[in-house]
């Protein structure tokens, strides 16, 4: 993999899934507010949540793939290695674990929200 692509994949593999999770949380939350509070938006609410969850989960999967490809490319690089390669390997290891966490969180939250759809007070 070229140095430029490695750099790009490392940052995408590290940051894309957290961003997707954050957007899923904030947008999903406001959609829930719009659904349950005074505006009572019903039509198209569930498909929108499904689309949002799918898009966010896809981004997390792509981030995992990016982190994995960086890790495989640099698997012989030590944790303390000098220069960009050491840092890219370091963050790829972090991305590999973190992206799975965000993927599972996005998916489980999305499924539960769509399955309950309840505006009743908890």
């Amino acid at each position: 993999m070229s140095a430029r692509r490695l750099e790009l994949f490392q940052w995408f593999g590290l940051l894309a899934a957290p961003c997707a999770w954050a957007i899923h949380l904030v947008v999903g939350l406001y959609l829930a507010e719009a659904h349950c509070e005074a505006t009572h938006w019903d039509s198209g609410w569930a498909p929108t949540q499904i689309a949002l969850t799918s898009a966010a989960a896809l981004v997390a999967l792509l981030a995992e793939a990016a982190a994995l490809s960086v890790y495989r490319d640099l698997r012989r690089t030590g944790v303390d290695a000098a220069g960009p390669r050491g840092r890219q390997h370091f963050f790829a290891v972090g991305g590999l674990v973190g992206n799975i966490l965000f993927f599972v969180a996005i998916l489980l939250t999305g499924i539960t929200v769509v399955a309950t759809q309840s505006c009743r007070e908890a």
Partner: protein, 836 residues
Amino acid sequence: MAVAAPPRSELERLERVWLPRPGILGWLTTVDHKRIGLLYLAATSVFFCAGGVEALIMRTQLAEPNERLVGPSTYDELFTTHAVTMIFLFVIPMSTGAFGNYLVPLMIGARDMAFPRLNALSFWLFVGSGCFIYTGLFMGAGPNAGWFDYVPLALRQYDPGPGVDFYALGLIFNGLSSLGAATNFIVTIFKLRAPGMSLNRMPLFCFANLAASLALVIALPPLTVDLVFLELERKLGFQFFNYARGGLPLLWQNLFWIFGHPEVYIIVLPAFGIATSIIPTFAQRRMLAFPLVALAELLVAFIGFGVWAHHMFATGLPTTTLVFFAAASMMVVIPSTIQVFAWTLTVVSGRPVFKAPLLFMGGFIVFFVIGGLSGIMFTAIPFDQAATDTYFVVAHLHFVIFGAAVFPLLGGLYYWFPKVTGRMYHERWAVASFWLTAVGTFTTFFPMHIVGLLGMTRRVYTYEAGLGWGIYNLIETVGGFILASGVLLIASNLLWSLRRGEPCGRDPFFGGTLEWTIPSPPPHYNFAVIPRVTSAYPNWDRADREIDERRLDRDEPSLPDGHRTPSSTVRDGLPDEVLAMPSESPWPVLVALCVSAIFALLLTSHYDAAGVAACFAGLMVVGWHADEPEDATGGEGLLSAGGVASSRSSPERHARANGWWGMAIFAASETALIGSIVGSYFYLRFNTSHWPPPDTPKPTLLAPLVLTAVLATTIVPFRAALGSARRGERGRALTLVGLATCIQAAYLGVQIHLFTGDLTRFTPQQSAYASVYYVLLGAAHAHVAIGLLFDLWLLVRLSSRLTPYRLIALDAICFYWTVVVAITVVVLITELSPRI
């Protein structure tokens, strides 16, 4: 007048350059990170004593049923001030202000923080805010509505005294200090790392401080917005929280906890950093799963922003809404668990030496697990609803805050005491103090779980006999005094050792990070030779350290001829340039005095006088910036003097300057501020049937659209000015900045005209819509006004000559305007949304 003899060696020259001003004036004007760290330590220790005394009074009051040591109103003030003190005036400022300030530059091989005068200002603002909050208590009008100060209780009709105003203004004041400190840490960690210290070689302590600082920058603005809303409603009759006028009391809780939960992680993250420093030293091995622990520290800070509503499970929110937060709350457990396993396995797989600092880490892990397990229980919505506002919550939060955040601080005091003083503490007393503190902590806080499950609610000043709570409360009170005696023993040990402790040398524990490579106490310049770093534990790299020692033997210190420190590139720690650092300055303390006056005058509703004090503060800031640093030089200065690896071919060479990074972080914080107001706007909108209300005109479309387009065009001359300045065309740059300034000033003039026109048609007191509308526009216009002040300063500077410092300023201000334009577009969309 005696003439100083010329220096006999390069090292002596270096020492003279960095020699601080003696006496009390030296401490008042100091910008040395070590001295500021010690000042923080002293100030936070005073506040810790105050908070501790408040806690002991409360525990004595609750020791038996129907106790009458204090009345209910005094008790309200005590528990509120205790919490505010421990969170805002002790734990955070001690962990970041004292430990962070003293240690971060030492761990990354720097000679000071990135912005030394801002560092001093942050400290003096912190002292001012602490005194401000305590003034209320001493006047018998302390904060009294709980540390989360819920409305409507905190509104004027239910709490008419000045206690809530002391709280709200005091925390805004305190937030300024925290924001300055956080910005400084981020830029220092990004830019001042020793050559070779790429991000993967950065100490975990610095990762933890970086994570906490990033979280602070984003978490503080929602709190500031919330507090401003509260003060506007209390003092000027705005309607953010009044249900009858379209407001929502839950808006307060949402904004507060968007800050409040990340705040918990901001409190514990530096403690994690201390643990990741102490454990490898006493286990004599690297931290296990180093990359995962670093990532976990960042993840905890990040995920912490997605869990705020789990503090609101009992407020009647819809199930669909709560699901998001229950999931995120469970998720945050995972990075915490990664760290617990890493700490434990590092000890188990190493050769542990159980000295006092490591014992405190053992206590920390146990208490963190207890607090964490009770925390997971709250993610189950039914359990949370049953246990909310009981002593079970008090038990949980104290295990997290005292057990998980304060225990590492106490262990850290022992661990770095030899480094700071050059003397060893008394080990046997230290071990005894650990056991007293640990037993005291467990005895005080564990029975609170039981009494909470038995139904005792928090914040009650007394209780009836026969409820079955008495014995547990008595045990807790006894535990409280045991805990206090443990803390007193720690203080006595350290004070005794300060004079009588054995001299310890530079590295009594064989620690792995850079602070152990230099003498104890550290010299004023920190590192005579700027170290070259090849791993995350550079003190264990003997070959590298021998190179440094040989250079010192040859009397070849780095950069001996000026008050200078090297800077490096953000990602890979390549040498970038050599920066001139400021010396002692009176401006930070003077600015802090003016800011204190502003807040005192706001409290007493003397708004005109507050404006005058703000003008004085502005003049002080101008005076501050009149002293321009020497021009930065390229990293080659360091290369010749430091022998570090050359990086001239690196694409990162001459990366963004410290000033640009400072502005970027400030802009991020301001974006979060506007984001909080926009979020509040839509939160209110979704919960209101008529938006805007029928008696309020809808916003006009044309004028805001045209004005925003005009403002956006000013980016073009600014960018062109930047290009011209880079080519050395000062006159052209000056003209272009002048042109942009004129357009921006015209924009602001017209906007103010429209704003005052709106005020004649509907007032902010009319409805929640009107309140949030005016605050939104006011905040956006204020950012333009601040930008114009930057422009004026820049024009004055550019009119004489162009220097690298001024070029950096132009770059930073250009970036600021880009962010302001983006903010204005978001505000425009929000403002016009009722027409869409």
